[in-house]
């Protein structure tokens, strides 16, 4: 064997070394290492599961968002319709009110004009009477002579005075 170059002692030592190494490796390295690997695998699984959950939640939220947008759009459209209806009704109401007010103002104006006309007529009549009396006064002043005055006085005293005196 020595001639072949095979050292049995060395081989045995190597084998013992290998076994020792194997035992030490298995006990102190392989087991914790595999534990560690398992833990890492577990962690990865959990992470993936969490990721999957998050993704699901995200999808759920997106679908909810879309749904909400639709609902908001619908409500907005309905509100717009209602508002348009109310605006039209209000417009009609205002138009009717304005018409009525205009009629009232017209009526008032007419009656005012009538009143003014009546007052003016009255005033004109009064002025006419005053003017006529003034003209008569002027005529009496200018055209009554002494003789006529005496005759009128005599007539008044003879015919009209009794009634006036008894009245007083």
């Amino acid at each position: 064997m020595d001639q072949l170059g095979i050292d049995i002692k060395q081989i045995i030592a190597q084998m013992i070394n290998f076994v020792l190494f194997f035992v030490i490796f298995k006990k102190f390295i392989a087991v914790p290492f595999s534990k560690f690997i398992d833990e890492e695998k577990e962690k990865e699984k959990e992470t993936n599961a969490a990721l999957a959950r998050v993704k699901m939640d995200e999808e759920h939220l997106i679908s909810k968002q879309v749904q909400l947008k639709e609902e908001i759009k619908k409500e907005l459209e309905e509100a717009m319709k209602e508002a348009k209806k109310e605006a039209a009704a209000l417009k009609n109401e205002l138009m009717i009110e304005a018409k009525n007010e205009a009629e009232e103002i017209k009526k008032k104006g007419k009656s005012q004009v009538e009143d003014e006309r009546e007052k003016l007529n009255q005033l004109i009549k009064e002025r006419m009477v005053d003017l006529s009396v003034a003209i008569v006064n002027k005529a009496f002043k200018n055209y009554l002579d002494e003789e006529t005055k005496k005759n009128i006085t005599k007539y008044i005293l003879d015919n009209l005075a009794k009634d006036v005196v008894y009245e007083n």
Partner: protein, 94 residues
């Protein structure tokens, strides 16, 4: 302020006499100087005037007729008065 009774009585008497004189005073207002005929016609209507003190005032604005003032009483028999009455009557009608 106390006033003597005698003075008070005399004052009252004097004022009464003044009022009486005023009441008896008769004023005739006409457009011309009234003649006897006119006065007679007046006395026929108001006999009490005959014994009263007459004061005649000429006022052209009367035109014709006469206004008699007896104290505070006024009897308007003038043409201007008639015209005024007519004017008032027409105003009342209107």
């Amino acid at each position: 302020m106390k006033i003597n009774n005698t003075i008070k009585e005399n004052l009252v008497k004097y004022l009464d006499e003044l009022i009486k004189k005023e009441k008896e005073k008769v004023t005739l207002i006409s457009a011309y100087d009234l003649g006897k005929d006119d006065l007679e016609s007046l006395f026929k209507i108001i006999p009490s005037l005959r014994n009263s003190q007459l004061a005649i005032i000429i006022d052209k604005n009367v035109f014709a007729g006469v206004i008699i003032k007896v104290g505070s009483k006024v009897i308007d028999l003038s043409l201007s008065g008639r015209l005024k009455n007519l004017k008032n009557a027409i105003h009342e009608i209107n």
